[in-house]
């Protein structure tokens, strides 16, 4: 480093000045150095006790100190620029090594990252991204990251088309599941997070993270398929139980006393509940696997609602509930199965959670280009702290778990998923102790 010789030079100069100053000082304050040094020195020593000598020693000490300070000052002044340079070089070295570190981290991160331009063109893919997309950097040149996303459904295509738009508007995207087609044509599922930012020059760029979730998705699918298979298997013995019970309770095999009939009725109810549970699991697994494809046709809403309410006629009568139906003459084009899942669950919930002799109202009306279906009950309501967890799988609100232990926690999950497949939305308002109103809005 070119600072070094300067340092040494400065050191020499400083030392020289120091010696010079001290010499001058001693010349003026000390005894003149004549021929008889020893004699003079002796006289000096003898005179040390005198006030004059003491004040001279004092002045010499102070003077030496000042000389030292001046020399140090000169040294520092002479070397300022070099020290500044050395510091600058060191800082630059730190910055460069941390940039190197950052680049190394980016390149080798196990998460696939791509830096993209404002238009989505891939500018800097890391190693993991190259592996994910299945090529070398030059294979990706000029390609837009958005070109890699594919879909197999119309609904998802609309969502996909919005992704570059959202990026363009500077909206960050977090953990969205996307299907990508690699350069060799194979497909992989990724969780996309896209962070738009502006370069110092004011240009929009983006950092996209593409986390490969193919494996977890496969596992999830296998799990759901298992639930589906198991549920189907469970139905066979249930059918056998139900039919044999039916034979037992029929007059053909002889009449039963009231106690026996009561016992068998309990058994029948139990089997029925078991069946309903399995039905729920099957619905959930089908919705999750996406094997429930909407088969749209025209549905007469008045008849449809009547049928669903009829399915609940036993508990409605047992609890002496009043059911108010305000269903305009409306035909909705939708899938019957999914609609039955959604509305059936909401109606049975309303019946289940409303107190005896209380009221349930069902309204269906046109609102613009959509249909609005509301199911209001005057039942137990949902505690305000738990309202955001309501639609999650296996969730049951705390206020009903004890009062009404019979409930799978799957009902509202099924409602949400079914409504999702139908392209609609479900929402609710509720007050604990007063009741809940669920509203489903479906496009026509």
């Amino acid at each position: 480093m070119d600072g070094k010789p300067r340092y040494v030079r400065a050191l020499f100069i400083a030392t020289f000045i120091f010696v010079l100053l001290v010499g001058v000082l001693y010349f003026f304050l000390g005894q003149p150095l004549g021929e008889d040094y020893l004699e003079k020195f002796q006289i000096l020593l003898l005179s040390l006790g005198s006030p004059e000598a003491l004040s001279r020693i004092y002045l010499m000490s102070v003077g030496t100190l000042v000389a030292l300070l001046i020399s140090v000052g000169v040294f520092f002044a002479a070397t300022t620029k070099d020290r500044a340079n050395l510091l600058a070089v060191k800082l630059l070295g730190d910055v460069l090594s941390s940039r190197e570190l950052l680049l190394t981290l980016y390149r080798n991160s196990p998460t696939p990252y791509v830096l993209i331009s404002g238009k989505g063109i891939i500018t800097f893919p890391n190693e993991a991204a190259l592996r994910l997309l299945g090529g070398e950097a030059h294979d990706l040149e000029g390609k837009s990251v958005f070109d890699f996303f594919v879909t197999d459904t119309e609904e998802h295509q609309k969502h996909l088309d919005l992704v570059p738009v959202r990026f363009d508007r500077g909206v960050p995207i977090k953990d969205e599941e996307m299907l990508i087609k690699r350069l060799d044509g194979t497909l992989r599922w990724v969780s996309l997070s896209l962070f738009p930012f502006k370069t110092p020059g004011g240009n929009r760029n983006g950092l996209a993270a593409l986390v490969d979730i193919t494996k977890p998705k496969e596992i999830d699918r296998a799990k759901t398929e298992f639930v589906s298979l198991a549920s189907h298997q469970l139905r066979t013995p249930i059918a056998a139980l139900q039919w044999h019970l039916e034979i037992l309770t029929s007059p053909r095999l002889g009449s039963l006393n009231p106690d026996q009939q009561k016992e068998l009725a309990t058994i029948a109810t139990g089997i029925s509940r078991l069946n309903a549970l399995i039905g729920d699991f099957l619905n959930v697994s089908r919705l999750e696997l996406g094997t429930l494809i909407a088969n749209k046709k025209s549905i007469d809403m008045q008849l449809f609602i009547d049928k669903l309410v009829d399915e609940q006629i036993q508990p409605i009568r047992a609890k002496e509930l009043t059911v108010i139906k305000d269903v305009k003459t409306i035909s909705l084009i939708s899938d019957e199965r999914l609609l039955a899942m959604a509305l059936g669950n909401l109606i049975s919930n309303a019946v289940k959670y409303t107190r005896p002799k209380d009221r349930i109202s069902i309204t269906v009306k046109n609102v613009g280009r959509s249909i609005e279906i509301s199911i209001a009950d005057t039942g137990l309501g949902i505690p305000s702290g738990e309202q955001d967890k309501l639609f999650t799988k296996l969730f049951r609100a705390s206020n009903v778990r004890e009062e009404i232990p019979d409930g799978t926690g799957l009902g509202l999950y099924v409602v949400k998923m079914a409504v999702g497949v139908l392209g609609g939305t479900v929402s609710y308002v509720s007050q604990e102790g007063l009741g809940t109103t669920f509203t489903i809005i479906l496009p026509q």
Partner: protein
């Protein structure tokens, strides 16, 4: 002469329940435990109606239907499918191959199935 019904299902308990209810209505009932036996029985006994389960070992309901429809008598046989599966794909596949009707076992009471059969057989 009493109408003859062939029940093809690998579950003994289901065969016995259906058989018992149908015999009580005066029908003659014959049984088979899988598609292979079912096919042989159908061609031999020439039943007025076949109640056919879908999921069975050796030869399943689909397979038996396909082969049955290739038989000169079999192509006109009345077949009602009984199953636990209820996805639209399966149902339409079955009906397209010549199934007469499709019943999901857990959705129907025995009495309701018997009524339906009575309607079909007259």
């Amino acid at each position: 002469m009493a109408k003859k019904i062939l029940i093809v299902d690998d579950e003994a308990d289901l065969r016995s329940a259906l058989g018992s209810a149908l015999k009580a209505e005066g029908y003659t009932v014959v049984e088979a435990v899988d598609g292979e036996e079912g096919l042989a029985m159908a061609v031999k006994e020439k039943p007025d109606l076949i109640l056919l389960d879908l999921i069975m070992p050796k030869l399943d309901g689909f397979g038996m239907m396909e082969q049955l429809r290739e038989d000169s008598w079999g192509k006109d046989a009345k077949v009602v499918l009984l199953s636990v599966l209820e996805d639209v794909d399966t149902i339409s596949k079955v009906l397209n191959r010549g199934g007469y009707d499709y019943i999901v076992k857990t959705d129907w009471k025995l009495a309701e199935i018997v009524d339906k059969i009575k309607t079909k057989l007259g």
